[in-house]
Amino acid sequence: MPSVAANSPAPLTISVAAGKGGTGKTLVSTSLAIELAYEYPDKVALLDGDVEEPNADLLMPTVFEDSQPVHILVPEVDAEACIHCGKCAEACQASAIAKIRDVVVTFHELCTGCGACAYVCPVDAIAEVPRKVGRIDRGIAAGSVEFTQGRSEIAQQHTGSVTSALKAHIKSGKVSIVDAPPGTSCPMQETIEDSDYCILVTEPTPFGLNDLKAAVETCRTLSVPHGVVINRDGIGDRAVEDYCKTEGISVLLKIPHERRIAEAYSRGETLVLAFPEWRGPLGQVFDAIVEEVAQ
């Protein structure tokens, strides 16, 4: 068994992503975390990085213990001190502070919290005050997985601070499984960029293949080793498998399309909880990843 100590798994950070949403990324991340926690109790953490739509906790029995708000600093203008020079509005790239004739107006939900306006104000008329943009919830899932979830506030435009706050909870010394948001742009990249390995979950259809290619390109750009899990195998064609073969990307696991899996999902039960026979194959996925990373 390629692990670090007798009852410790290699403390890798494994992200789980998918170009296309809805391919089964969260099914895989929760199942992998739960299986590893059976083998190595208290050595496994799962982080839900889809801060706009976190729903990993809906696939496993989760008990939340703690919640911390995430804040950014937003501008408050002292109207009496303000000399209406407009430098703040000029500096702001997000249109969160504007000068309309002689009045300076702020728009906090557009603010990224960068501090440029306060920096340029020549008369120190701008105070920076905290604004809650999301929260980090922590607890235990399926009895033994350390679970952390990021959740952005409704209508908050810039969610990067919530993702950063979540990633600060990745601990060395444990296996961390990080569930990424769908897509291949910034939110997904921020989640996978420091991971040791990225599992890309896809479906064997033209949609799945199209988005897998973009996700693979992103992994390559970020130099993150990666492999593929094919979910709902059997509903489409062989094009995804052929692509993986041509590109030298390992297919770590194939989960067949089965109505009973979809029904369990719709009851809020992830794969290994509903069908324990999948524990072994997921454990083997981890072993394969450890081996690939070691090379």
């Binding site: 249109s95 969160a96 004739r101 009045v103 107006v105 728009f107 906090h108 557009l110």
Partner: protein, 122 residues
């Protein structure tokens, strides 16, 4: 008086664009002599900040009022704070809108009418 009219095109005979922040063109017209200039609304590309940017643009160009059918909450707040008047007009050309402003027949708005969420923008 200088007014900004949200427009779908660059002439006085273009249809008024119903939305202010993301309208395609802004016609800045002098209601006294009907002289005007047409500005491509570069604020439209600003995503969320479109309403704020468009409000700043028209205020900085000396407009005293704006005509469109709807004003998003950010644009409405910005314009109201800056003391610019907002007028509602729909279903006609820029020229017709200007005539209606001059005739005083347009409804003047007090705040955001485009969104349920209103109130403090800060």
């Amino acid at each position: 008086m200088k007014m900004a009219i949200a427009s779908t095109g660059e002439s006085l005979d273009s249809q008024v664009d119903p939305r202010f922040g993301r309208c395609h063109w802004l016609i800045l017209a002098d209601t006294d002599d009907m002289s005007f200039e047409a500005l491509k609304n570069r604020a439209a590309a600003a995503g969320h900040g479109a309403g704020v940017e468009a409000a700043q643009m028209v205020a900085n160009m000396g407009c005293r009022g704006v005509v469109a059918s709807t004003f998003g909450p950010n644009a409405a707040h910005a314009l109201a704070q800056g003391g610019l008047a907002m007028y509602r007009f729909s279903g006609g050309t820029v020229r017709e809108a200007i005539e209606a402003v001059k005739a005083g027949t347009l409804e003047q708005l007090n705040g955001a009418n485009a969104a349920a969420h209103s109130g403090d923008r800060e």
